[in-house]
Amino acid sequence: MTDEEDLIREDIEAYLAKYQEKELLRFVSVGSVDDGKSTLIGRILYDTGMVFEDQMAAVRAASQSDKPDLALLTDGLKAEREQGITIDVAYRYFTTSKRKFIIADTPGHIQYTRNMVTGASTADVALILIDARHGVLQQSRRHAYIASLLGIPHLAVCVNKMDLRDYSQQVFDEISADFTAFGKTLRFKDIQFFPVSALVGDNVVSDSENTPWYDGPNVLEYLETVPIIEDRNFHDLRYPVQYVIRPDLDYRGFAAEVASGVIAKGDEVVALPSGRTSKVKAIDTYDGELDEAFAGQSVTIRLTDEIDISRGDMIVKPDNLPRVTRRFDAHLVWMHEKPLDTEKAYLIKHSTQTVRAQIDKIYHEIDMDSLQPKSSDGLRLNDIAKVRLSCHRALYVDDYQRNRETGAFIVIDSLSNNTVAAGMIALEFADQNLSDVMKELHAESAMEPKTFVSPSERMERFGQRGATVWLTGLPGSGRWTLAYALERKLFDLGRTATVVSPVGEDLRSMISAAKAVTDAGLINICAFPSRTRNDRELLVERIGRDRVVQVYVNTDEALCRERRPDADFTGFEPPENPDITVALDKMRIDKAVEIILEALEKRGQFEAQ
């Protein structure tokens, strides 16, 4: 820091000119508390002079021993300090004469995957710590796997606590070889190893005399020089329109951050989903026009033609198109306590579009011990899986490993609004030309109408599961009276129920009506005659066994005949296994209603109100 300090002292403007031109590098530091990760970060901050005197005084005061505990520099919220662990991603900032850095510091232990994935999503480099005493543990492999899955191009492996292994080259070489073998199965551009002691400071920001056999860079040197400019995708233009700027009738600008690629004045472009082509008339900024804009710049473009473009549309080049699709495969990292519900419609936010979507299928889950695919019985917090999704509208996507900007999405629970998962799109590479894309988009609009309200959403809205209460019994048994009494009672209790009156004489159309009402999430009460077991089997088959409650209204036949002397009593087959039996000659109607209600509650038909 001394050269820097001299420059600050002697020529502040020269220092500032240099500072503002620095490149920004984001890295994620991973590892558990025991690996000494916080100490390493604390060491970097301290040794690069990023720690203020008053912070240092606070650290000294809070340290258990005479030596300041550098891990305390990166502690966070009070509650976490009390628990002795950090539970969320924290961001730290420091700068050296070469680069500016943003550290995503991700805590170990609890909810690890979720936090690491968050920190890793924007990182250029992953810094992984391995305890030299323990060698490559499964945990380190897991961290590297996640870093690779999240598309981090560079991996730095710090073999820490070398002081406790006498700075042995053999230990370092063995760990490096072990890890290299594993690393070959991942997608990093490069992996670099460092023999360090965060506690002592070996090879962290300066070369160590304790490791004369190591001639590579120290950690900071590496972070200052690892080339990252090539990591951005400058090849595929993706311009996801964020905002339309229209101050007056003469100006119509499409504002966006260029997600990838380069866009230049005069370029021929095509707008999705309209498929209309035009040329770039101007690239505007607050400071004036640019000849071209590249990945990472926030600009506003104007086109030569008046074409209708709004937020969520994407401007691309006709000879380099994203995949335009409603259905795609992706890796999902589940980030919420509430597990995935494949019946439920979620929201997906991808670039500047938010669409309704469903997770149709889990292909497999990743076993976090073996890092191999395994069969899945559902996704829970911190699970990673490969899934199939289908969206309400087409998205303009790329494979995540090719394009981190248009390959990424988040999943939002449409009821709680929580972000519940992170997604990385996995596409088999196949070129699509503009006519393929337009066909896909036309196919979209011609698609069969389909509901985007899922059963579980209905359930949350109504506080109940849709069901059919099917009353069976002889003519005159009191089915209809009971049906309407039950409807009234359910209504009074705040439930949503209805009695479906007969539709003609046809059992099939009656069942269709019953199914529609049940699908809508209502409690449907039916008293339509269904004399035979076959009739009732058809009913159960069409509506679904778990959605039908069969009630046998077993009123004494003599009484029924007395009530309905002219009715046809032939061919009635009493149900073999009704869910509920009530006898209206032996109990009052309210009692029967009570019994049915109790049974419905026992089945978990209702959510607590």
Binding site: Y93, Y243, T352, I410
Partner: protein, 304 residues
């Protein structure tokens, strides 16, 4: 342009990311507002917003929560900004606080801040039904901020729950809320104090003159220089204002803002002094010394 020249400097990268954040919030929320505190961070945030929608006007108003105890220089500066603004500036003061005559002298800094800042902000957001409020806070300011999201969700009571934050990945922001809830959006999250000053300098953004050293009348209050800004200042028995060359690192209400002795009267000199001094940003702000982790407590209560 040669491919090797397609490189954003760190400051231009931060700028582009902030513009992305501001546009995203403006597009996704129904009724956003930009908190305008008159300080340097607000000034930078305002410039970024102007950049985001240029040549159009700002698609949201600015909101100044006025405690009535700001420095006179701040009011003058605010009025100048308002005169040139392509948009609306809303000024809001807690009417009950005003009626009760709440001031930092009789009520203590905690209670005063609660009523005139925290409560006033909540009232204003509720009154105008804002569902999104941009704030100029930075993650490097204070430890508890290091974990705050860029889109930071607040429940219908304006409360922040640090343990139950939405995960935030890539540059994809979740703007989904229910009626009555709101989101605080922090476009400067990843900026450091140095970045902000540097941007002020490079972009020639005017800031309140109090940031620059000048002879000013001050009194010493437990080791901190407090400016005697107007005749409402209460002097303790025997206390006499003296002229000192001072400046302010952060601006707030004058009886609660400490000045430092300084010779820095230009932006580069301020930066130079800041870098050489290495004091953490908020040391000059008295309210943080109430209790340990106090910023965290205040945020849970709805302060920015």
């Amino acid at each position: 342009m040669k491919p090797s020249e397609r490189k954003l400097s760190q400051l231009r990268q931060l700028e582009a990311e902030s513009i992305h954040i501001i546009r995203e919030a403006a597009a996704e929320f129904d009724n956003p507002v930009m908190m305008y505190s008159v300080g340097k961070d607000s000034s930078v945030m305002l410039r970024l917003a102007e950049r985001a929608f240029s040549p159009g006007p700002l698609p949201f108003p600015l909101l100044h929560v006025d405690t009535t105890w700001k420095f006179q220089d701040m009011y003058r500066y605010r009025d100048k900004i308002e005169a040139n603004l392509k948009g609306k500036l809303i000024k809001y003061t807690n009417p009950e606080g005003l009626a009760m005559g709440v001031n930092p002298f009789d009520f203590g800094s905690k209670k005063y801040t609660d009523i005139m800042k925290t409560e006033a902000l909540k009232q204003a957001l509720t009154k105008y039904e804002f569902d999104c409020a941009f704030g100029g806070a930075r993650r490097d300011e204070e430890k508890s901020r290091a974990k705050e999201r860029i889109f930071s969700f607040r429940d219908s009571h304006h409360q922040w729950d640090p343990k139950n934050q939405r995960p935030e990945l890539w540059n994809i922001f979740n703007a989904q809320i229910k009626k009555g809830e709101n989101v605080r959006v922090f476009p400067l999250s990843n900026w450091t104090e140095l970045d902000v000053w540097l941007y002020v300098w490079l972009e020639d953004i005017p800031v309140v003159p109090l940031y620059f050293a000048k002879e000013r009348p001050v009194v010493d209050r437990s080791g901190t220089w407090i400016l005697v800004d107007d005749d409402r200042m209460r002097l303790e028995p025997g206390e006499k204002p003296q002229m000192k060359k001072v400046r302010f690192r952060t601006l707030g209400c004058y009886p609660l803002s400490g000045a430092v002795e300084s010779e820095a009267d230009t932006v580069p000199k301020v930066i130079q002094e800041m870098l050489l001094n290495r004091f953490s940003e908020r040391q000059g702000r008295l309210i943080d010394f109430d209790e340990e982790g106090s910023m965290e407590v205040k945020k849970r209560e709805g302060y920015f």
